[in-house]
């Protein structure tokens, strides 16, 4: 499944005190089976953009096409060329038909997803999503078990109260709650925030695994190590605008785009650049983390890795 955004604009509290333009003229296609990072400092509009993808927020104006599901808020003009506010208001009032079908396909894991937990047992909480999307009790439980296995929560946890779990475990249960819906596109908002190095590695391993199984991944983050190591495409947002869209490699090589967003390429990457400047003939596209960098150095130096 692919999602296309055309001229998407979003304003919080329009025409009221606290008005805030969060997205400006976003044109974007998320191809089927992508692994995309949304990068930008806090307040650049990542979370707002993510919420457009499954209709939690509707564009103030613009159009979103997710396969056959279309949210059409394109501007309507009057004869004199001005925007027809009345017609726009009307458009926003129309109830979205069958929005659930979109939400089933686009699963969003919010920042600190552990806040969505509410059932008395882990298995019940994880099977809540599938049940809402019309699965039978047994099917929902089956999908829940699969999702829990994926995130590494074993059977001994199923009947425990999710509120007694540790922070990391809670987060994994919450993520399983989305995975159990078997979405085509998995969207994660800053999933690695608040995790230790091991937890981060594990989580990204899981996400990569899902990607290899065919799920599209969209990831909001300002963790550049993650972007370099795992993502195939990097989109930089600044003040609600797309300022750059390329592979992570291109992005980090042209780091002026990052600077304007007060972000920096990962240390590994900068180290590799320094090595190249020092005369080593490294292949930057192979450098993903310390391990691959080491391999490159060994290769260039003619050792055997």
């Amino acid at each position: 499944m692919s999602i296309k955004l055309e001229q998407v604009n979003y304003t919080y509290n329009p025409h009221r005190p606290g008005e805030k333009v969060a997205l400006r003229d976003i044109n974007l296609v998320f191809q089927d089976h992508c692994f995309t990072a949304l990068i930008g400092r806090t307040g650049s509009g990542k979370s707002t953009l993510i919420q457009q993808l499954n209709g939690l927020l509707l564009p103030t104006h613009g159009k979103i096409i997710a396969d056959d599901y279309v949210i059409d808020m394109t501007l309507v003009y009057k004869k004199d060329g001005k925007v027809d506010e009345r017609a726009m208001k009307k458009k926003h009032k129309v109830k979205l038909q069958n929005i659930k079908s979109l939400r089933k396909k686009v699963g969003i894991v919010f920042q600190f997803p552990e806040y969505q937990i509410f059932e008395e047992s882990v298995i019940k909480d994880v099977s809540y999503g599938p049940k809402n999307f019309g699965k039978s009790e047994e099917e929902a439980i089956k999908q829940a078990k699969e999702a829990l296995t994926l995130v590494g929560i074993d059977e001994s946890y199923y009947e425990r109260s999710p509120f007694e779990l540790s922070g990391g475990e809670k987060r994994r249960v919450a993520i399983a709650g989305i995975l159990a819906m078997e979405p085509d596109i998995l969207v994660l908002d800053e999933p690695t925030v608040g995790l230790d190095a091991a937890g981060e590695e594990k989580l990204m391993g899981l996400i990569t695994h899902l990607y290899e199984q065919g799920t599209s991944i969209i990831l909001a983050t300002h963790n550049m190590d993650v972007v370099l190591k795992y993502c195939k495409r990097a989109i930089v947002l600044d003040h609600g605008k797309i300022v750059h869209d390329s592979t992570p490699l291109d992005l980090f090589q042209n780091s002026e785009y990052l600077k304007s967003s007060s972000l920096e390429p990962p240390k590994v990457f900068r180290f590799a650049l320094d090595l190249i400047q020092g005369g080593l003939d490294l292949d930057l596209s192979k450098v993903k983390d310390t391990k691959t960098l080491a391999n490159e150095i060994i290769r260039v130096k003619g050792g055997n890795a």
Partner: protein
């Protein structure tokens, strides 16, 4: 449904900048004026209410408070108005002496049911007072920051301190509660979105689904509220908060012209009420306007 009724609106009018204590006292005076009876003649009273209504609209406009939103939110009060109407129709009857013909007291009849002028007047009283009270509180709460509001309340209640009631503890509790309303709103919004992503439909769906959806909202909300309040208590203690210590103010207000104007306005209003009550003017009697009989 979004309603801005009663929520602080960060404009910059002179009413916003006025000392909250002046506003609080003025609000109380205005409220009292709504519940006064100014004349034996009910129609005269209603006329005065109409004048009050116009005055409050002017104040609303000065404070950039949308008074139209009041009428939109009044839709919720319709149930109550209809209830009052029904009660009135069935249970109010003017207590007429024996042998007096009730006909002139009846506004109209539906079949065997007589609707008296008294019922209609009573109903108008209820509606008028309701609307006026909502207008005043709306002006006050839209133009005053919650923090200033509690400070003003604390100031107003100082006499209770004389009988050893710890007002500033209450004030602290209230201001903390107020401080966390927006936080809870954000939290609610966040949890609703998270659950909506899991297929909960808060807008449509059957009653049973909606109840379940509410549980999915309330439990996480409480969990996070407990966590937050625990953290807050720790943070306050860590910074040396002592509930029994004497409080000082971080922000002190400097009185300006607008505050004196506010006081002047309040004083004039009181004078107006007193005058009206003493003289009990009745323009209807003065101009000999025939009115239906209410008793």
């Amino acid at each position: 449904m979004y309603t801005s009724l009663g929520k602080y609106q960060p404009y910059n009018t002179f009413i916003h900048k006025m000392d909250a204590r002046v506003k609080l006292v003025t609000m109380i005076i205005l409220m009292v004026s709504v519940f006064m009876t100014y004349s034996q003649n009910s129609f005269m009273n209603l006329t005065i209410y109409a004048v009050l209504f116009l005055a409050f609209i002017v104040i609303s406009m000065l404070a950039k408070v949308s008074f139209l939103s009041i009428f939109r939110s009044l839709a919720a009060i319709w149930v109550m108005i209809i209830f009052v109407l029904i009660l009135n129709v069935f249970f109010t009857k003017p207590s007429l002496p024996e042998g007096v013909d009730p006909a002139p007291y009846i506004a109209f009849s539906i079949g065997a049911l007589n609707i008296y002028w008294l019922s209609i007047v009573n109903l108008l009283y209820v509606i008028a007072r309701l609307v006026l009270i909502i207008m005043i509180t709306n002006i006050f709460t839209s133009s005053t920051k919650p923090m200033e509001m509690t400070n003003a309340l604390e100031w107003l209640l100082w006499p209770l301190g004389l009988i050893r009631i710890p007002i500033h503890k209450f004030a602290m509790a209230i201001s903390l509660a107020l401080r966390f309303i927006p936080t809870l709103q954000e939290e609610t919004d966040r949890i609703m979105k998270a659950q909506a992503s899991r297929g909960v439909d808060y807008k449509q769906g059957k009653f049973k689904e909606k109840v379940k959806a509410l549980v999915a909202l309330i439990i996480p909300l409480f969990m996070s509220a407990f966590t937050t309040s625990g953290q807050l208590a720790d943070a306050m203690e860590a910074r040396g908060y002592d509930p029994n210590a004497k409080r000082t103010r971080y922000k002190t207000n400097h009185w300006g012209l607008r505050d004196f104007m506010g006081c002047l306005f309040a004083a004039a209003w009181v004078a107006g009420i007193v005058l009206l009550c003493v003289y009990q003017p009745d323009i209807y009697a003065f101009f000999n306007v025939p009115l239906p009989l209410v008793k």
